[in-house]
Each structure stands twice: as structure tokens, then as C-alpha cells.
Symmetry: C2
DNA sequence: CGGTATCCTTTCGGATACTG
DNA sequence: CAGTATCCGAAAGGATACCG
């Protein structure tokens, strides 16, 4: 397997567990979201996984973080970058493909599919 | 994590190791490709993984198989279905996104990026 | 040829406790 | 609050041998 393939590399982190959901949460509503807020919005995600996904997405340039260390407790927030927002269009294309060819699929349950911001 | 999300489910099998490469191989050149031919074209893939990926893709309706059991040795061939071909457009969109935002990436090495059928 | 069966290593992610 | 550290079980995938 060749990890130099740009498509492969992209899929590789996008498909990790929770990644899409995190992007989705960051895409909804207000820009900046706190760690605890993200955690609360995703039932069952563990802090370890959330932390490591956010770090990966930062490394890939899809997410940016700002921190206020002077505050106590420390305030840390995340949002999508421009490339992150643009990626949501691609994810939308994936959804459209799926709806074109997978009509027999059950609608998503964790979110109302019609309200899904994807 | 909710496995009812159609986007998540799609990403889930697309990002498995070798899947994209297999789709790419099926997308190139002649329609029907033999098992051994696919295997030979992907250095290092094991028969177990190739077999299981092809099965997943068949289950998802992206790939179809035809077999001639009367021949000896048995002749088995695979090709993309219509939805599989359509998915290549989505994969192309992913590539375009990556090229838009990841210009600093090294070009792919396993294939000449400019010749890549994606 | 076109796979399957078996074994084994590595990676992933869940659970939980802890800290500045 | 915003993570990190540790431990653990499950699952993925590589290596290899084998079979109709």
C-alpha cells in the first residue's frame, strides 16, 4: 500500500471512528466549540479519542484551536478552517452519492436525515 | 457512534486498507479483471485481503463478479457496477479537494499523479 | 487459478483514573 | 475544564500453507 497517495491519506483519517461526527459538530451552529461541548454532543466518545481526533484534524489543517490559558479553568475552543469547511462540500457529495444509489438504506437515526447539515 | 449514518457507513468501507486501490485498478483499462490480475497489479496485497475487499464491494453493490466454472482453472472476473463508476467521480472530488488545499503534499509515488485516472 | 484456513502481530479504541 | 496516562480486549491485516 502506498501512503503517498493523497486520496488514500485523506480517506485514512476521515474514516477513523468519530472523525466525521466531530467535523459535523463543528460545522453546526456557532463557530467556536469547546472541548467539553463537543464531548457532550457526542454521546459515548471518550476524551482520549476526542483529543486524538482533534489533534489529527489540526495536523491536517482542517481544524484550528484557540486557548485562553489566563482563564481558569483554561478555555480551549475549536473550529473548522477554510479547508475544513470546503471538505464539508465533499462530504455532502458522498451523501448525495449514497442517496442516489442506496435509496433502500434506512434513514440515519442519530440525526434527522432531513435536518442533517451535511 | 451511530452506524445508521449513510455517510459514515460509506466512509467505513471506502477507507479500509486497499479498497481505493482496488477500485482504481478496476477503473483502469478493460472492464473485466481477473483475481490474479488484480493481485499482480497491487504489490503486497494478500489474497485474503483482496478476497475480503472484493466481497465487501460486491455486498455494497460497487463491484460485480462473473465466473466460468466450466473452465479449468475456474475463471473469475470483476468489474465496477454503475454505482461503482459513479463513485469514482466522488473520489475525484476528494482528490480535487486535496489538490486545492494540500499543494505542499508530495505527488503520489505509486502512480504518476498526472496519469492517475482519478 | 481462485480462493480459504490458520496463526500471529499490531493497532485501535473503550474504560477509568488522574492532574494542572 | 481540558485534557493525559494506563490498562485491556477486540479487530484488522500480514504471512503462509493448503485445497478443489
Amino acid at each position: 500500500m502506498d501512503h503517498s497517495c493523497t486520496v488514500y491519506k485523506t480517506m485514512d483519517y476521515l474514516a477513523k471512528k468519530w472523525t466525521i461526527m466531530i467535523l459535523l459538530e463543528l460545522h453546526k451552529g456557532r463557530e467556536w466549540k469547546r472541548f467539553s461541548e463537543l464531548k457532550a454532543s457526542m454521546k459515548d466518545i471518550t476524551p482520549k479519542v476526542l483529543s486524538s481526533r482533534l489533534k489529527e484534524l489540526e495536523d491536517e489543517g482542517l481544524v484550528e484551536n484557540r486557548m485562553d490559558s489566563t482563564a481558569f479553568p483554561v478555555r480551549s475552543e475549536y473550529r473548522l478552517t477554510e479547508s475544513g469547511k470546503d471538505l464539508m462540500n465533499v462530504i455532502h457529495d458522498i451523501k448525495m452519492w449514497a442517496l442516489r444509489w442506496k435509496i433502500q438504506n434506512e434513514p440515519c437515526k442519530h440525526l434527522d436525515c432531513r435536518l442533517c447539515v451535511l
